[in-house]
Amino acid sequence: MNRAKNKVAEIIFFNATRVSVTLVLVALLAIFVSLLYKAYPAFSEFGFGFITSSAWDTNKGEFGALSSIYGTVVSTFIAMLLATPVAIGIAIFLTQIAPHKIRNFFSINIELLAAIPSIVYGMWGFIYFVPLVRDVFGGTGFGLLTGGMVLAVMILPFIASVSRDAMATTPEILKESAYALGATRFDTIKDVVFPYAKSGIIGSVILALGRAFGETMAVAFLIGGISKLPESITDPATSIPVALATQFGEAMGNEIYESSLFYLALILFVISFASIAVAKFVFLRRRDTK
């Protein structure tokens, strides 16, 4: 009797796990298919010209992705430029320089920086960075530069912790050999740790890139939200996530408008998918444990 009950439980449990795994696969496929389906009207109207057109006039029904793609790419580029060297410096400190006792303390604190909700980053950037950029560079203070700077702070802990993990895998014996040959700490970092962790570090940077591309709230507070090609990095601009966040509400019911937004979402999905795929399959492959 009990055995039969167990058998039923076993079958139910096993199938529940199988269904759950299938759901995960179906979900990703469904995201892609639904974006494709919803973007189709805009695609058939504008084709690939959508990507190279910067027209965005919701009243005239003209839509083009260029200004938001430009904003996404440039703000991300600024963020990467500022964050990468600092993050790698932090990773070096955490793995090579900090005494063992304080490593953990610093690591946890840096990682907590990544846990802060992005809306808080946006509000914080809004009160400190908008006036700062306005005073130093002129303009309104809203724009790609401000967005990029706050994005840099957001992705900093991310690059730092992934490259730290990569650097931490360097076998002690390799480092000891370098020291035994008279290398300084910097020589060891440059010629032993970096080459060993290189692919992990590049992988972390690409993953962060994907993350910065998709960041919405922090940028929404700072970029200005103007769907026009900016002339300089201090001009108000927009990005794909910001355009989606702020315009889905008003687009509801207007088919071509809505579909254009889905087209944007599809572009964003493809960009982030590609960056994750490159990071994972080219740079962050699991090392063979041999």
Binding site: N6, E10, F13, F14, A16, T17, S20, V21, L23, V24, L25, A27, L28, A30, I31, S34, L35, Y37, K38, V86, G89, I90, I92, I97, I110, E111, L112, L113, A115, I116, P117, S118, I119, V120, Y121, W124, F126, Y128, L156, T184, R185, F186, L207, G214, T216, M217, F221, L244, A245, F248, G249, M252, F262, A265, L268, F269, S272, I276, A277, K280
Partner: protein, 277 residues
């Protein structure tokens, strides 16, 4: 090479070494400064707008009571769907799956889902659950949050179950346990803290999300228990309030941000503590 040039070279190397050390320490301090700066800002600005009416008043009267309750509903429903699916899928990968290629494929799919921009997941929920019914809904918001929770839980479950020693499983099999019994009463029990950590971290992750809620659950200025219409949430209310040109409402937004940050950071610290135990 004479002794002098050698000494010079050595000195130069030591100098570069010290410089690198200095720079990396400076960068770390710099990074931590931002953390403290943000936290200090949230505390100072948040305390200024903090009062009891924050929790009792609804948005329409300048409080966040409805937003807290709405957030609880949204995250709660997301948990009901996300936690079991994530745990079960992770269990399949770790315990039942046999084909390594397929399993790695699933792991990669899940990682891709984890890194998909939350706004894209919001757009998906909008296409699937908002547009067809022509109405914002709490269900759509919860659905988007659940999709974001699943890969986080899947990953930690997979990792944590892998840490359970094989001998423990063999021992339970030797005593005549079935696979189901072994997983539920031995493996799960051994990995309990790790699994809990995954769940907690996934809740922390979605609790701070704003983007996918903007056009799925949207917002409402009053209490709403009807998940098939707009449901207020803390994050969207903070966003709305901080955008308004009204200083007292901005202060309420900061007070909300304080509560949110304390919750998210607290939960993260709790998760780390549990995983070490």
């Amino acid at each position: 090479m004479n002794k002098q040039t050698l000494q010079k070279m050595a000195r130069k190397r030591v100098m570069i070494d010290n410089l690198v050390k200095f720079v990396s320490i400076t960068f770390t301090v710099f990074g931590l400064c931002f953390l403290f700066w943000i936290i200090a800002t949230v505390i100072v600005k948040g305390m200024a707008g903090f009062s009891l009416s924050l929790f009792t008043d609804v948005s329409a009267f300048g409080g966040l009571g409805n937003a807290f309750l709405g957030q609880l509903q949204l995250v709660g429903v997301a948990c009901i769907v996300g936690i079991p699916v994530g745990l079960l899928a992770g269990t399949y990968i770790s315990e039942y799956g046999t084909n390594q290629k397929t399993l790695n494929f699933i792991r990669n799919i899940s990682d891709i889902m984890m890194s998909t921009p939350s706004i894209v997941i919001g757009a998906f929920a909008y296409a699937l659950l908002v547009r067809p019914f022509n109405s914002y809904s709490g269900w759509a918001g919860s659905f988007a949050l659940a999709i974001m929770m699943i890969p986080v839980i899947l990953k930690t479950t997979d990792d944590m179950l892998a840490l359970v020693p094989k001998t423990l499983r063999e021992a339970s099999f030797a005593l005549g346990a079935t696979k189901f019994k072994c997983i539920t009463s031995v493996v799960f029990r051994a990995a309990k803290n790790g699994l809990l950590t995954g769940v907690i971290l996934s809740i922390a992750r979605v609790a701070g999300e704003t983007a996918p809620l903007l056009f799925t659950s949207s917002n409402s200025n009053f209490f709403s228990f009807d998940m098939s219409s707009a449901v207020p949430s803390l994050t969207v209310s903070i966003y709305d309030f901080s955008q308004l040109p009204d200083e007292s409402l901005n202060a309420v937004a900061w007070a909300g941000a304080l509560v949110l940050a304390v919750f998210v950071l607290g939960v993260n610290i709790l998760g780390r503590f549990l995983i070490r135990k």
